[in-house]
């Protein structure tokens, strides 16, 4: 059993905003900061565009973890989109709990265009955390 858990390769989706966190992810690349291959990025113009259905669909279709990233508070390219996302995030976490999905599978993090190292660290930490949690409970059924 232990061995099987170690080999578990989670599938993680990350939503990034065009102006800050996607640029932060690019900077991790240009700086050659390595991180696990488990995360795939979806680029949106603003984290405020992230519809709760995107997150819930991701879990329904088999994501083991989902990351939401955006500009730091006060830095949003669209003034307040990140605050809008943050407001939804509280509800989303609660909803996940009710659905039997561990809320720790969803994480919100602010990443600036200059924080390549922070982005890489976020991917490393998230991958390790989801590995500890094991496959999504929705997958097992």
């Amino acid at each position: 059993m232990e061995e099987a858990k170690e080999k578990f390769e989670p599938v993680i989706l990350a939503f990034c905003c065009n102006w800050c966190s996607y640029a932060g992810a690019d900077l991790a690349g240009t700086s050659r900061f390595e991180y696990p291959t488990n995360v795939k990025i979806i680029r949106l113009m603003c984290s405020g565009r992230i519809d709760p259905t995107f997150i819930l669909s991701a879990f329904r279709w088999g994501a083991d973890g989902v990351l939401i990233t955006g500009c730091h508070p006060g830095d949003c390219h669209y003034v307040q989109g990140n605050y809008m996302m943050e407001r939804r995030f509280g509800f989303l976490k609660e909803a996940l709990g009710h659905l039997g999905i561990e809320p720790e599978r969803l994480k919100l993090e602010w990443i600036s265009a200059g924080e390549g190292e922070k982005f890489a660290a976020l991917i490393r930490d998230t991958t390790a955390r989801i590995q500890r949690l094991g496959p999504s409970p929705l997958k097992a059924t």
Binding site: V11, L13, N18, Y22, A23, A25, D26, A28, G29, T30, R32, F33, E34, Y35, T37, K40, I41, I42, R43, L44, M45, C46, G48, R49, I50, D51, P52, T53, F54, S57, A58, W61, G62, A63, H77, Y78, V79, Q80, G81, M84, M85, R88, A120
Partner: protein, 590 residues
């Protein structure tokens, strides 16, 4: 009728940058198996001349109606590939990228097999989205060739003249009865010591007689509607309203000198305590007896947001308790958190003026940090030559001012270097107060939908890259409206703002964002949530339905995510397109 998607996939090796990690031929082979993919090839450098011609040729010969390039980041290379698509006759919005370098090969350099698998996934996601992409047009707006300048100070007048000299019609609104703004109260300007009138009078005259400038004094702006190129402005004069239509707006409402509350440094309590502005006026009128000593205190009401923690180690022990009590009191004192940057030079200016008129008067400037930047360092040296004394005092302990029965003042402060108490008898105390935001700024900010910075000034679109633009297209900032500025800085920003406005008006037309939200009126229930969450005022309710003003929408998509009826579509990032990517990301490789 809609064509079936025929997607072309171009996988870039980027030399060894991608090719050295990811098995590119394998990714290309995989791409060919994906739905709707009509063609796939790999290139050594897709962005090279050869790569781009190959891409353009393939679009034409293979009748591709969608293109995916799997290479680097769209943040740097999307414009290049888009223009290649355009040259081949393809709408640029039918293009997408998969970032298999910055977000794959470069961060998984030691995991070739896994990186190849991830690259396949990223291509699959881009292809899934590309199949659903729709062509978009960037709408063109007419720009009216007239401008509104709010504020008739040096910045507003300069902006108006700059535009008027280029042939644009300018409406200049000034709420006071006369133009001139803060300079009307000033006597001399640092560091040249010119009379203010030397600059002000010719400028006012030039504005007044200019055939392209309509000056409206004693007038305020009471409402602004519309958007870039087509603003409808309502002005009010003695309660009488009139409407003007302009293409651009320059806000030059300026700043005001902070007047300390009664009792702060005994201001308003003892008669011979003045602000620098008041001292400037006193010197102009000449109503001042030769003083024996004048003490100036810097940063009164400024830089008080964060009082630095005090290291008490070096202080005389007997004074520690008193010091602590004073610090606590000081922290309670309200003030503006920023450095107003003109006050040091202003104090030096008045100090030199006093010294020139009364050479025997002792002038002491108590400062915490003296900030004399650029050429003002020479100005500081000049003051030193005039025997002006600069004393660094402990800012954490505000100087105390007492008045003796015969009217002489005593300033008690602490020397920063020795920590010892100084008692300075004097005739005048002059307080250097910062420039602070105008209360009108809040009204204007609401009207124009410009955010206000933490310091209370109107906020520029980007501190470094767009210093005179605002987040509202067609609205620009000149002078101290965006923060404390001296005369040359105000003039520079006014000319910059005028230049930015002129670009729009000279072009007469402007392309706006194609990525806007659109409302499905059949589904909309008119709840107004979109109107509430939009930072730009791009949604309005009419007839119980929401509408998008395309010219104002910036394409963030917040409204689409918030709409409880899912009646708003964010073009180019539609629910279907994003969900297709999500689904593709989670599919197992065949």
């Amino acid at each position: 009728m809609e064509e079936e998607p025929r997607i072309g996939v171009f996988v870039c090796k980027c030399g060894v940058n991608i090719g050295g990690v990811v098995n590119v031929p394998e990714v290309t082979k995989y791409a060919k198996t994906l739905p709707n993919v009509a063609y796939a090839e790999d290139n050594i450098y897709t962005c090279s001349e050869a790569g781009l011609s190959s891409l353009k040729e393939a679009i034409k010969e293979r009748k591709l109606n969608r293109v995916v390039v799997a290479s680097c980041t769209p943040r740097t290379h999307e414009p290049l590939f888009r223009s290649a698509c355009k040259e081949a006759g393809l709408n640029v919005y039918l293009f997408d990228m998969a970032n298999i370098r910055d977000q794959c090969s470069w961060v998984h350099m030691h995991e070739h097999e896994k990186a190849t698998q991830k690259a396949k996934g990223l291509v699959r996601m881009a292809v899934a989205r590309a199949a659903l992409l729709q062509p978009q047009e960037e709408p063109e707006l007419e720009i009216k060739d007239s401008a509104l300048v709010i504020g008739g100070g040096i910045a507003g007048m300069t902006a108006a003249l700059t535009l008027a000299n280029q042939g644009f019609k300018v409406h200049l609104v000034e709420k006071e009865a006369e133009m001139g703004g803060n300079l009307r109260r000033l006597h001399k300007l640092y560091p040249t010591m010119q009379d203010t009138t030397e600059i002000l009078e010719p400028t006012i005259r030039a504005v007044a007689i200019h055939k392209n400038i309509e000056v409206m004094t004693s007038t305020t702006v009471s409402d602004v509607k519309g958007y870039v190129g087509n603003f409808k402005v309502t002005t009010a004069k003695n309660g009488e309203k009139s409407e003007i239509e302009v293409g651009t707006i320059i806000v030059a409402c300026g700043a005001v000198s902070y007047t300390p509350p009664k009792g702060l440094y005994q201001y308003g309590v003892y008669p011979k305590i003045a602000t620098q502005l008041e001292m400037d006026e006193l010197l102009r009128i000449g109503k001042i007896e030769p003083p024996e000593r004048v003490v100036m205190i810097q940063c009164v009401g400024a830089r008080k947001g964060e009082i630095r923690a005090l290291d008490l180690a070096g202080f005389p022990k007997s004074d520690t308790a008193r010091l602590l009590a004073k610090i606590l009191k000081a922290k309670k004192e309200e003030g503006w958190p920023y450095c107003s940057k003109i006050c040091c030079m202003n104090a030096i200016k008045n100090a030199i003026l006093i010294k020139e008129r009364f050479p025997k008067t002792d002038v002491i400037i108590l400062y915490g940090d003296l900030r004399v930047y650029k050429e003002y360092e020479d100005f500081y040296s000049e003051a030193r030559e005039h025997q002006v004394k600069f004393v660094k005092h402990l800012e954490e302990v505000p100087p105390e001012i007492t008045q003796r029965p015969e009217g002489k003042l005593t300033v008690t402060a602490y020397d920063a270097l020795s920590g010892l108490e100084m008692r300075l008898p004097c005739d005048w105390v002059v307080l250097s107060t910062p420039l602070i935001p105008h209360k009108d700024e809040i009204i204007l900010a609401r009207m124009l939908k410009i955010p206000i910075s933490a310091d209370g000034f109107l906020m520029e679109a980007h501190l470094k890259l767009r210093p005179v633009d605002t987040q509202v297209d067609g609205v620009f900032l000149a002078g101290a409206a965006s923060g404390p500025k001296d005369v040359p800085e105000s003039i520079v920003s006014a000319k910059a703002a005028a230049g930015r406005a002129a670009i729009l008006m000279a072009n007469k037309k402007m392309k706006t964002e194609a990525l806007t939200s659109i409302v499905d009126e059949d589904r909309c229930i008119g709840c107004g949530l979109c109107e509430e969450v939009c930072a730009y005022g791009a949604h309005y309710l009419e007839g119980g339905k929401s509408h998008t003003i395309a010219a104002v929408c910036r394409g963030c998509g917040v409204c689409a995510a918030e709409c409880p009826r899912r009646s708003i579509t964010m073009q180019h990032f539609t629910d279907d397109q994003v969900l297709a990517q999500v689904r593709a990301a989670l599919m197992e490789e065949a």
